[in-house]
Structure formats: C-alpha cells, structure tokens
C-alpha cells in the first residue's frame, strides 16, 4: 500500500528587539549567565510585566507577511506549569485570542509549481531560561527568560520532508526580509518541532501523530522526517500499531528515539493574564505597519521576472536572500543597456559558484560591482575570453585588484591580430591532417576541434571568432 505523509511544523522564533518582551532588560547574547536579568524577568514577587511595543510591532509585521488575519482584540494568557527555567512557573503566552490566524505561505515543488501551505496561527509569548546540568547539580541561566518569542504553527499541509525543508527555507527567507530575527537554528533563535503521521493514500483520517524534537538545522528537520517516514512506513507494512509519542532526533546516530509516549493531555490551566490589559490592534495601526513592510521575496521575484526578463528559476535564486537580492539588483541597475540577461547570467553563473565554493552568500564576496561590470565589458568587446574572465573573477575576489590590472598582469588580452594568429593556425593545420580532411569532407565538428586546438596553443588568449574566420578562409 502507498502512504501519504502528513507534516505540520511548529516554529519558535526569537525576535531581535532591543529589550525583552515584558521588561526593560536589553537583549544581549554575549552576557555572563544571569547578568541580563532584572526583577521583572526573574519573576520576583510584586513585579509586573509591561508589554513591549516593538515586539508587538514585529509580531504584526510577521503576521502580515504571512498573510494572516490580525485579531483586533488580543490578550495575553498565562500557561501554568512548573519548571525551573520558568521563574514565575507560568509563561505569558496567548491562548484563545492569538495575535493572528489563518495565514499562508507559498512553496514551489520540483516542477516549480506553487503550493500553498496554511499557517494556523502566529502568537507572541516569552522565552524561558536555560538549564545547565552539572555532575551533581543543575544551574539556571535566566538571560534568555522573557525574550519575545513568536510561535508560528503551520497546518498539516506538508506532504514530504522536502516540502518541510522548503517551507522552512521560505519562512526564513521572508523573516530575513522583515529583519525581525536572526533565524539561526544552531543558536536557537529559530526552533522547529515537527508533527508527522502517515495514512493510506486517499484516506481522510489522519494517522497516529508523532512529535519530533531536538533538530538543530533545517537539514536536521528534513533528515529526522525522512527517517520517520521510513520507520513508520515499515511499521505500517508490518501491520503494527503504535501510540502517539514524542521522539528526539539523534543527529549523531541519524535516528529518532522515543522520549515519552502520550500521557494524559497536559493541563496548562490557561487563563487571561490579569496583569496585562486586553489590547486593541486597530486598522490604522495595521495599515501603518503594512505600509512599512519591505518588498517580500515572492513579490521581488515577480518584479525581477517582469522588469529584467528573468526566468522564474533565475529570479528565485536571486531573491532567496535579502542581501543577495539587493546586491544583484544593484549590479543589474548599474549594468549599462536594456538587456540584462548578460549580467544576470554572470550573477547566477560564475558569481554564485564563486560564492558557493567559498561557502558565502553573493553579497559577502565583497566584490566591487563596477569592476564586475568592467570585466563583463572586456568579454563583450571580445578583448578577453570568457574563460580568462572567469579566472580574473576569482583573482579579483581574492586580490581586490581591478579587472584592467589583472588582465595586464596575466597577459590575458585576446589575440585578435591576424598575423599573430596565422602562425598558430598554420601549425594546428599541419598537426591535424585528419581533422582538416574531415572538415573538407563537410564535418563541421572538425572545425570546432581545430578552433579548440588553436585556443589551447594560445593559452586561451586567441579570439575564437577571429580564429574560426581565419581557419575557414584557409580551408575553404
């Protein structure tokens, strides 16, 4: 039997506001344990939370970017449970009136077809502290306590580990555009838990849910889900039943391990936090935040396709990172002439492969955009070959020298001088009698081969167009 995979993701996102969600503590990750705290975030008796408008604004920004409906009357609730990293033994969160609901984002499948993934809700809450376990005791660091956290819950609309990965990439890309979070899974500013179940293809009812935790990269999420699909498929095929459970991803072993099976549903005894009045997000406030939203990746992609005649895959590559998109657009604008295909090819071709080989983003290559355009000019005027230009690009990134300097240093100007080239061509014709004969017999491939030989002999400096013309003139 074939099974359908059903995945929903729950993302927790630390907002990079100046201060914590409910107190005035500056957020600074470099601080010594517990030095970034105050009586309010430590939950000392008598202290009261006051909500941070910046966090609220960021949350609304995110909700709008994900096409959510904003709740006009929203409130904070207390989620009650005992844990030492939670100084009040309740977390200020949002329960029945979350800030926003019913959003979505678009991912693209292998065939570049768009797929809409529902977002159930986005709400604002406070982060907990960190436990540090030592041999015979445990310590608590409350620096993280009270950092504003967004919970972004997706609908179970994802049907493969790859889709989950694409959802996260798209989510991260949008969040980066909004500049509201560092989105760093390794550092914990973005955390992701996954719910996965399998059901027979075509079935309406969902299968038994498994919650996956402890993934610390997007790849980890994908790998853990891939493992689970395989594990659960095997169980189903063996006719086994199992209980809802929470499993931890063990990145070393590449497996998931059961952490706990479903105990009775936890009772968090949610109730409205009486310390924080209900607040109203009115239409003018929403309009103002909406007007301040930056162009988001998919809008930018459509604009790139329209304005610069880019193909969808090319545009998608360029907009996936906000800074890269800015870098690319700046290059495109500086590039003279209406036809931008040439500069785009350079960006997604040689430049991107330089970036990839250096494990950097495009903009991090720190390339002088005018020099890049100069370099392309040399190729266009056929003063250097494309091959040489790629070598120069590498050197340009390493040395920050100008294109002109590097061409001169490398003696890479193309030879278009016929007298100089005739000598090389004569030698090549002499050494490749068979190819000459083939060409004369009408095999055009032979011409390409002869041109290639000339290029080789001239260390890539010969102008291939001139060479082709000269050979033809000699042999025809």
């Amino acid at each position: 039997m074939n099974y359908q995979t059903v995945i929903g993701l729950e993302v927790h996102l630390q907002l990079k506001t100046k201060t914590k969600a409910f107190c005035g503590c500056a957020i600074d990750f470099g601080k010594a344990p517990n030095s970034g705290t105050c009586p309010v975030c430590l939950g000392f008796p008598g202290t009261l939370p006051v909500y941070n408008k910046e966090a609220l604004n960021s949350a609304i920004k995110v909700a709008l970017a994900f096409n959510c409906q904003i709740q006009e009357h929203t409130k904070f609730d207390r989620k009650n449970y005992f844990y030492p990293d939670l100084p009040k033994n309740y977390q200020i969160s949002q329960f029945d009136l979350p800030l926003s609901r019913n959003g979505h984002l678009i991912i693209f499948d292998q065939e570049h077809q768009p797929k809409r993934i529902g977002i159930t809700r986005i709400h604002l809450e406070e982060d907990a502290g960190k436990l540090i376990h030592e041999a015979d005791s445990s310590l608590v660091d409350f620096n993280r306590t009270g950092i504003p956290l967004l919970e972004i819950v997706s609908e179970p609309d994802l049907n493969s580990p790859q889709e989950a990965f694409d959802y996260l990439s798209s989510l991260k890309s949008i969040l980066e555009y909004l500049d509201v979070s560092d989105c760093d899974m390794e550092k914990g500013s973005l955390r992701c838990d996954a719910n996965i179940s399998l059901r027979p293809q075509g079935a309406k009812e969902l299968g038994v849910k498994t919650e996956l935790k402890n993934m610390n990269s997007f790849k980890g999420v994908k790998d853990a889900l891939t493992f689970e699909v395989k594990r659960q498929t095997e169980l189903l095929q063996a006719g086994q039943n199992w209980q809802q459970e929470t499993r931890l991803w063990d990145v070393q072993k590449g497996i998931t391990v059961s952490m706990r099976s479903k105990e009775g549903a936890k009772d968090y005894r949610y109730f409205p936090d009486p310390d924080l009045a209900v607040f109203i997000i009115n239409t003018p406030m929403i309009s103002k935040i909406k007007a301040g939203l930056p162009e988001l990746p998919q809008e930018k992609m459509r604009r790139f396709m329209r304005d610069y005649s880019l193909s969808e895959p090319d545009a998608k590559i360029l907009v996936s990172s906000k800074n890269d998109a800015r870098f690319a657009e700046d290059c495109i604008n500086r590039y003279p002439g209406k036809d931008k295909k040439n500069i785009v090819n350079w960006l997604i071709g040689p430049l991107l492969s330089e970036a990839n080989s250096r494990k950097l983003e495009l903009h991090e290559l720190d390339l002088d955009k005018n020099e890049l355009i100069n370099l392309i000019g040399f190729v266009q005027r056929q003063e250097i070959s494309l091959l040489s230009a790629k070598t120069i690009l590498t050197r340009m990134i390493d040395s920050r020298k100008s294109a002109q300097t590097l061409i001169t240093e490398g003696n890479l100007l193309q030879i278009s001088d016929t007298a100089q080239l005739e000598q090389v061509i004569a030698a090549v014709i002499r050494e490749n009698e068979k190819s000459v004969a083939d060409f004369k017999a009408g095999k055009t491939n032979a011409l390409m081969f002869l041109v290639g030989q000339v290029m080789k002999k001239s260390a890539g400096k010969a102008n291939p167009k001139v060479v082709t013309d000269l050979i033809k003139r000699r042999l025809v």
Binding site: P45, G46, T47, L48, V50, P84, P87, R269, F271, P274
Partner: protein
C-alpha cells in the same frame, strides 16, 4: 497628648513649623510599642532596628508610614507573613514606597502583620501568629491588613498602608475603629505589591481620620508605567474634597445588604449613621444590586484562580524558603508543603481546580461573566446616586479562634466588601459607632470609579459631625 497619638495632618503641621523633632516622634512611637505591642502584636520581626529613618526632603517631612508586609520595601524584609518568603529582602521598592519616599515620608522599619499572602479576614493566618484587636485583646483586628489597622488604632503607628482584595483594608479599619480606603482599581500602582489576586488587589491607606486618608491617597496614587493596569488619569488634590457638606447628595441603600446573619446591633448603628447623613441634608433611597448573592462565590473563584497562579513562583528555586531534598520534584513539593500555611494551601487548591480543564468554563469563565453583571449593578445605581452606603461587615470583631475552623463562615463575613473589588470601584470605611461590648463598627461608603472625592466628602462630613474617630482604646 503624646506625639504618637496625633493624626498625620496634625503632625505635618507641627513638623512644618518645626515644633516637633522627628526623633521625638519616633521616640514616642517606639515607647508606645514597648508598652503595648506585647498585647497587640501588630508588627512582625520586632527585632528589626528601631531607629529614626532618614528621609529625603518633601512635604511629608519624614513622617513615618507603617507598611503591610506584602508591599516591597527595598532591603527591608517583605515576607507576606509566610514561611515560604523567609528572609526575602526585595532589591526594589514598590511604586507606592518610592512615591512615599519621594514625598519625604519615612518608611517605618517594622512591618505590619497580616494574614499570610492576605488570605483571610482576621490576621489569624499569619506565620507570625495573630494580632489582637486593641479594643478587645481577645478579638481579632480583622484582616488581612489587621496589623496595619491595629497599629494605627493603638497609636503604635501614625498611619499605614494596607492592601484590599476583598475588604482587607475596610474590614480591619471597621473592626479597629479607624479609617480605611480601597481606591479604584487602577488608581494606585500595584507594582511591588506581592500579588494575591491581580485583578482585585489595590493598595490603600489606613488612618486615624479622613483627612489623613485624603493626604496619603494623593501621595500614592497615579499612573505607573510599570503597572499596565494603572490608569493614566490626573490625581486630584483630595484635601479639596474635605468639605463639611452633604446637602442634596443622593445616597443609595442596597436592600440586598440587609440580610439574615447581620448583627441587629450593627444594623441599628448603620441605620443611625444613615439618619445622621440625612439630618445633614443628604437624601437616601433603597437601591437594588440584584447580583449581590453571587458576589461571594464569584469572588472565591476569581481570587483563588489568580492566586493559584500568582503563588506558583514560590518554589524554593530563587528566593525564600527551600526545603532540603534530593531532586527537583521533591524540592517543589516539600518547599510548598512546608512553606505555605493551611489557608494558602486551601486557596491554591481551590484556584487550581477552578482553572482546570473541564472546569474552567463552568467556574472561572462563568464567574467572569457574573462579575460583569455585578459591575453593571453598580453602574446602574451610580447613574442616579452619588454614593452607596452600607455596612462593612455583618458583625463587629469576633473572637480569636471563633471562626478559624469554619472557612465558609469566614468567607461569608466578606459579603459587603467584595462586590466593590469585583466592580473595581472605590470604597471607604469610617467609624460610625460602637457595640454595647465596646467594639467599633464602620460605615462603608462606595462611589463610582475614580470618584474618591465623593468618598472623602461624605466620610469627612460624617466625621466632622460625630465623635467616634476620636475615641481611643484603653491599653
């Protein structure tokens, strides 16, 4: 008269004219405490240094204020009279304390006894033991601000701050024959008040007369950016309301308050007080607050639900008492089992139950809805009336131990005070007579939200035309 027997406004005059040295005043207070505290036991941790507290310059000229043990005082132990907060010295002042200091007041170094976490109506639920009523040492002073009220009544304090969640200022003020005001919810910052029930708690003054209450209320009131439930409204100069005039004021008398169980003696004292106001030109009419009968159950659901969550932080991790234990869960359990008293445990359990899955809608949510109805009862009356006059408590002070085995009876004694907290409106208790046994009875006056001025006006007029507030207990 000794200096400690004077009212705050009398002392402020003398201090301003430099007729009195602060040292002499402190000397008189400590002398009185030396003499009567062993009987009254209004204060806790009496080993605290007895010294003249230095103060910053300001209109209050160093005049000391006695503070209930649930209001945070920087560096000064604040334990809510609970073992679980043993040794807790807040690293911050409550906003009211900061305001007092800024106005030049001194913070009296001894803090006032109270029911543990303000859970009670008798001050018997204190970890430090009960306070006695200065008028009858065998009777309770009321609660939970019983220490504050007893200290003021016995001249062991000039004036004091208490907190009122369901009557905890007004009822002890009534039992001890002093003035007590619960301000409008949001009038006074709760920052630094160790929360019992966040949506009901309010700090207020307990004083020897209405003028003192007006002065102290002005000092502690006002918007506080650290408390999002405080309201951003100008604070009037309440001393301007101290006029001797109630002519033409319309007074509502809730008919639901004349219930069974009300002591006939208290009833006739209240009726006399109403007649007094009428003789001064006020007009009174019966009014209806139809949802009164639900106030007690609604209150005990809302207040305990909030309390169960507010008190979760007392877990032995960061401050206060921690029981010795081998692991986390055991530490939680033992710390809370050993650190909380019986009444605290009872209320935490009640509140936890009311918020539990499957019960939330039936209890907490329904209670919130009825709370709205109770509030609307008052809104309706205040459309036509300037104030409501009622008893504070169905009886005068009861004997120590008399009700401690019957929590329900104890809860029912809050019947006249808790509606005010549920509705968020202000109310004052002012002495209005004595029982034959010589126990004081207080008159409660309620007004609409943020109309404390009406309370001061009516209470002051009543006071100016009666002598009850001038009587002192023999100790």
């Amino acid at each position: 008269m000794e200096l400690n027997q004077l009212t705050a406004h009398e002392l402020l005059d003398k201090l301003a004219r430099k007729e009195v040295a602060l040292e002499a005043l402190y000397g008189a207070l400590y002398g009185r405490i030396q003499k009567t505290e062993s009987k009254v036991r209004a204060y806790v941790r009496s080993e605290a240094a007895r010294k003249t507290v230095s103060s910053s310059p300001g209109p209050l000229n160093g005049l000391p204020v006695t503070i209930k043990d649930n209001i945070c005082t920087e560096g000064l132990e604040t334990e809510c009279c609970s073992k679980i907060l043993k040794g807790f010295r807040p690293p911050y002042d409550a906003t009211v304390i900061a305001k007092l200091k800024k106005s030049g007041a001194g913070i009296f170094p001894l803090k006032a006894n109270m029911d543990e976490f303000a859970f009670g109506s008798s001050t018997e639920n204190s970890f430090f033991g009960p306070t006695a009523n200065p008028w009858d040492l065998g009777a309770v002073p009321g609660g939970s601000s019983g220490g504050s009220a007893a200290a003021v009544a016995s001249d062991e304090a000039i004036w004091a701050l208490g907190s009122d969640t369901g009557g905890s200022i007004r009822q002890p003020a009534s039992f001890c024959g002093v003035v007590g005001l619960k301000p409008t919810y949001g009038r006074v910052s709760r920052f630094g008040l160790i929360a019992f029930a966040s949506s009901l708690d309010q700090i207020g003054p307990i004083t020897k007369d209405v003028e003192d209450a007006a002065i102290l209320t002005k000092v502690i009131s006002g918007y506080d950016p650290n408390d999002s439930t405080s309201v951003n409204l100008d604070v009037p100069d309440y001393t301007q309301s101290l006029v001797n005039d109630v002519k033409g004021l319309k007074i509502g008398l809730p008919k639901e308050y004349l219930v069974e169980g009300m002591d006939p003696e208290v009833k006739s004292i209240i009726e006399e007080a109403v007649n007094k106001l009428k003789s001064l030109g006020a007009v009174s009419k019966p009014v209806s607050l139809p949802h009164t009968e639900y106030a007690v159950p609604v209150y005990y659901i809302v207040a305990t639900a909030e309390a169960s969550s507010n008190l979760a932080r007392f877990d032995g991790v960061q401050y206060g008492y921690r029981a010795k234990s081998d692991n986390l869960i055991e530490m939680y359990k033992k710390t809370r089992a050993e650190g909380f008293g019986e009444e605290a445990k009872r209320r935490i359990l009640l509140g936890t139950f009311a918020l539990s899955h499957g019960y939330y809608d039936a209890y907490y949510l329904r209670a919130l809805k009825v709370r709205t109805l109770i509030k609307q009862d008052f809104d309706r009356v205040f459309n036509d009336f300037d104030c409501i006059v009622a008893p504070v408590s169905p009886t005068a002070a009861f004997k120590i131990g008399e009700r401690s085995d019957d929590p329900l009876k104890m809860y029912l004694s809050d019947i006249y005070t808790i509606s005010v907290n549920l509705a968020g409106i202000p109310a004052i208790s002012v002495p209005c007579g004595f029982t034959k046994k010589g126990l004081p009875v207080g008159l409660q006056i309620m007004a609409k939200a943020f109309n404390e001025e009406m309370l001061f006006r009516v209470a002051h007029t009543f006071e100016q035309n009666t002598q009850w507030h001038k009587l002192k207990p023999k100790l």
